[in-house]
C-alpha cells in the first residue's frame, strides 16, 4: 500500500472520479458511431420517421443498393486512399524538414522565415480557395490529384507543431554527435531526426490524413470525372440524387463505408502515440 502524502482527495476517490469522467467521455465518443450504424440499417422510409435506437433489418439491402448503383464506390475508396496517404506522408516529411531547418540551423533569414510561416498560418484557408481553383484551371490540373496532394508539402500548422515538439524533445547535442560521427546532414535528418520525431509525426499524419479524407470543398471543384472522385464527393452526389433514387439509407451506409478505412488507419498510427513507448535517444 502506498502511503497517502497528498493533501485533498485520496487516491481512491480520485480514481473513481477519473474513471467516471473517462467512461462518460467514452460514451460521448462512441455513441455517434452507434447512431450512424443504426441509421445505416434503416430504409429511406424508416428514416423519415425520426431516430430510433433499435437497429432495423435493411443493412444488407442498403449495401446491395449502393453496390448496384452507378456510383464508383470502390474507385472512390482508392482515390481517397491515394490522396490522403500521399498528402499525409508528404506533409509530415516536408514539414519535419522545414521545422528541422528552422530548429537546427542558424542562418540569416531564420527568424524572418519563422515569423513568415507563423503569419501565413493565420490566413484562413477559405480566403485563397477561389484563387486556388482558378490557378488550378490555368495550370490545366483539373481532374488531377496533384493540386490535392502537392500543396500539403507547405503546411504551416503541421510545421509549427513539429517545431514546437522539437523544442522540447530534440536535443541538438544528438545532431552534433552525429556530425562528429561523420553523418551527412540529409542522412542525419532521415536516420536520426525522423525516428526521434515519430510520435509527433504520427499525430500530424493522422490529422492530415483525416482532414484530407474528409475534404469536400476543394476536391468538388477540381475533380469531375467519375473515375477520379473521392468519397465525400460521392456522398454529396448521393445526397443530391433525384427523387427516384434518393435514399438516405444508402447515404448512411456510404458514410459508414467511408469511415471504416479511416478508423483502421487511425488505429494503426495511434499505436505510435498511445503505445506509451517513448522514442529512443537521449533523455532530459
Amino acid at each position: 500500500m502506498k502511503k497517502k502524502k497528498a493533501k485533498g482527495l485520496g487516491i481512491g476517490p480520485r480514481r473513481v472520479i477519473a474513471y467516471a469522467v473517462l467512461v462518460l467521455m467514452v460514451f460521448l465518443c462512441l455513441f455517434w458511431f452507434y447512431v450512424l450504424f443504426v441509421n445505416s440499417t434503416r430504409s429511406n422510409g424508416e428514416l423519415t420517421r425520426g431516430f430510433s435506437p433499435v437497429p432495423s433489418d435493411n443493412f444488407v439491402t442498403n449495401w446491395k443498393n449502393l453496390m448496384a448503383g452507378t456510383l464508383p464506390v470502390w474507385n472512390g475508396l482508392i482515390n481517397s486512399a491515394i490522396v490522403a496517404c500521399l498528402s499525409a506522408i508528404l506533409s509530415t516529411y516536408f514539414s519535419t524538414m522545414t521545422a528541422y531547418a528552422i530548429h537546427a540551423y542558424n542562418f540569416r533569414l531564420k527568424k524572418a522565415m519563422f515569423t513568415f510561416i507563423l503569419m501565413v498560418m493565420m490566413i484562413p484557408t477559405q480566403v485563397t480557395a477561389l484563387g486556388f481553383v482558378q490557378l488550378v484551371t490555368k495550370l490545366k490540373l483539373e481532374d488531377s490529384f496533384v493540386p490535392l496532394i502537392v500543396p500539403s508539402i507547405a503546411a504551416p500548422v503541421t510545421f509549427y507543431y513539429l517545431k514546437q515538439y522539437m523544442q522540447s524533445n530534440l536535443p541538438l547535442s544528438l545532431v552534433e554527435a552525429a556530425r562528429i560521427d561523420g553523418s551527412g546532414e540529409l542522412h542525419t535528418f532521415n536516420m536520426i531526426v525522423l525516428p526521434l520525431m515519430k510520435p509527433a509525426i504520427a499525430v500530424q499524419m493522422i490529422f492530415t490524413f483525416v482532414s484530407s479524407w474528409n475534404n469536400y470543398f476543394i476536391p468538388a471543384l477540381i475533380l469531375h470525372a467519375d473515375k477520379k472522385k473521392t468519397l465525400p464527393i460521392l456522398i454529396a452526389q448521393l445526397r443530391s440524387a433525384d427523387f427516384l433514387k434518393f435514399d438516405m439509407g444508402q447515404v448512411y451506409i456510404m458514410i459508414v463505408f467511408s469511415i471504416l478505412p479511416v478508423i483502421v488507419v487511425y488505429l494503426f498510427l495511434s499505436r505510435s502515440i498511445v503505445g506509451g513507448v517513448a522514442a529512443g535517444g537521449v533523455k532530459g
Partner: protein, 304 residues
C-alpha cells in the same frame, strides 16, 4: 557519408537550413502565395459576378473596407465567433489537460489507458456534415433528446433547440468540443511522451503531490505544445465554419446570432465577390495576427 569530423565552420552546415526550406517555399509560393496576393490585390477593387456577368474589376481604394467596417455587423460576427469558440475551447482544454494529467499520473495507475486514449479521438473521424445530420436527428422537436427530457419530467413540451440563440450556440460548441477535444488531448499526450518518466518518479520519491507534479513538471515541459494548442485553437476558432454552417444551413440563425466571420466570408463567395471577400480576409488576417501576438507575448518566458 565519410565526411570527416571537420565542424570548424558552422556556416557550411547552416547552408542546409536554406536547402531544407526549399520544398516548403517553392510549394508555398506556387499554390498559396499567388492566390493570396490576388486576394489582397482584389480587396481594393469592385469585383464580383452578377449571374454570369463579370462586374469590374474597378479600382475603389478602401471602399470595401469602409463598407465592411461601417455596417457594424462585422463586430457582431466577431463576437459570435469568439463566444462560441470560448464555449467550446474552455471545456476542451480543461478536459484535455485533466485527461493528460491523469494518464501521466503515476499514483493513479489507471487501467485501460490505451483504450481511453484511442477512443477519444474517434469523433474527429466523422465528417462534420455527417455529424450535423446526426445532431439534427437527435435534437429535432420530435427527436430522442426531447422525448427523454419530457419523459423525465424536465420539459412539458418539446424544446426547439435550433430556434433559440443560446441552445444553438451550445449545440455548436458541443459539436466542436466533441470533434476536437480528442485532437487536443492527443497533441498534449504526444508532448507528454517526450517527458522522462524518471522525472515523475523522482518527484514522487521527494514527496511531491500529484498537483505539484502537474504544475511543476508537466506544465512547464508541455509549454511549447500548450502554446501551439492555444494558437492553433484560436486560429481554428476564428476560422470556425463548417459546424455552424451546416447546423444552421448557412443562415447563422436565430437572427444571425451564430453567424461566424468565415460564414460571413462564405456569403460573399456566392457572388464570387472577390472585392468584399478579399477585404474581409485582410481584416480577418489582421485580427488573427493581433490576437496571436497577444498570446505569444503572454506565454513568452524570459529565457526564450
Amino acid at each position: 557519408m565519410n565526411q570527416k569530423t571537420n565542424n570548424k565552420k558552422a556556416v557550411s552546415y547552416n547552408k542546409w537550413g536554406y536547402i531544407f526550406l526549399i520544398p516548403f517555399v517553392v510549394v508555398y509560393v506556387v499554390f498559396q502565395l499567388i492566390p493570396l496576393f490576388t486576394t489582397i490585390y482584389n480587396s481594393f477593387f469592385e469585383h464580383y459576378r452578377s449571374g454570369l456577368t463579370q462586374i469590374g474589376p474597378n479600382f475603389v481604394g478602401f471602399d470595401n473596407y469602409k463598407a465592411l467596417l461601417s455596417q457594424g455587423d462585422l463586430l457582431i460576427y466577431f463576437k459570435n465567433t469568439m463566444i462560441m469558440w470560448i464555449m467550446g475551447f474552455v471545456p476542451q482544454i480543461i478536459v484535455s489537460l485533466l485527461l493528460g494529467a491523469w494518464f501521466s499520473d503515476p499514483q493513479l495507475r489507471l487501467k485501460f489507458t490505451n483504450f481511453f486514449k484511442t477512443v477519444i479521438y474517434l469523433p474527429n473521424l466523422i465528417m462534420a456534415s455527417a455529424f450535423a445530420m446526426l445532431f439534427f436527428t437527435l435534437f429535432s422537436d420530435s427527436g430522442p433528446m426531447n422525448s427523454i427530457l419530457i419523459n423525465l419530467g424536465i420539459l412539458d413540451q418539446p424544446f426547439k433547440f435550433l430556434s433559440n440563440t443560446w441552445s444553438t450556440r451550445t449545440l455548436i460548441a458541443m459539436m466542436n468540443f466533441l470533434m476536437w477535444f480528442g485532437n487536443t488531448t492527443i497533441l498534449l499526450m504526444a508532448g507528454m511522451l517526450g517527458i522522462d518518466t524518471a522525472l515523475f518518479e523522482a518527484a514522487e520519491v521527494d514527496g511531491a503531490t500529484s498537483t505539484q507534479i502537474f504544475y511543476k513538471i508537466t506544465l512547464p515541459l508541455l509549454r511549447p505544445i500548450l502554446i501551439y494548442v492555444m494558437i492553433t485553437s484560436l486560429i481554428g476558432g476564428l476560422q470556425m465554419f463548417d459546424v455552424p454552417q451546416i447546423l444552421t444551413n448557412g443562415s447563422g440563425d436565430p437572427m444571425r446570432s451564430t453567424m461566424t466571420l468565415i460564414m460571413y466570408l462564405n456569403k460573399h463567395l456566392f457572388s464570387k465577390n472577390y472585392g468584399m471577400a478579399g477585404a474581409l480576409s485582410v481584416l480577418l488576417f489582421i485580427v488573427t495576427g493581433v490576437l496571436s501576438m497577444i498570446i505569444f507575448k503572454f506565454t513568452k518566458s524570459e529565457n526564450d
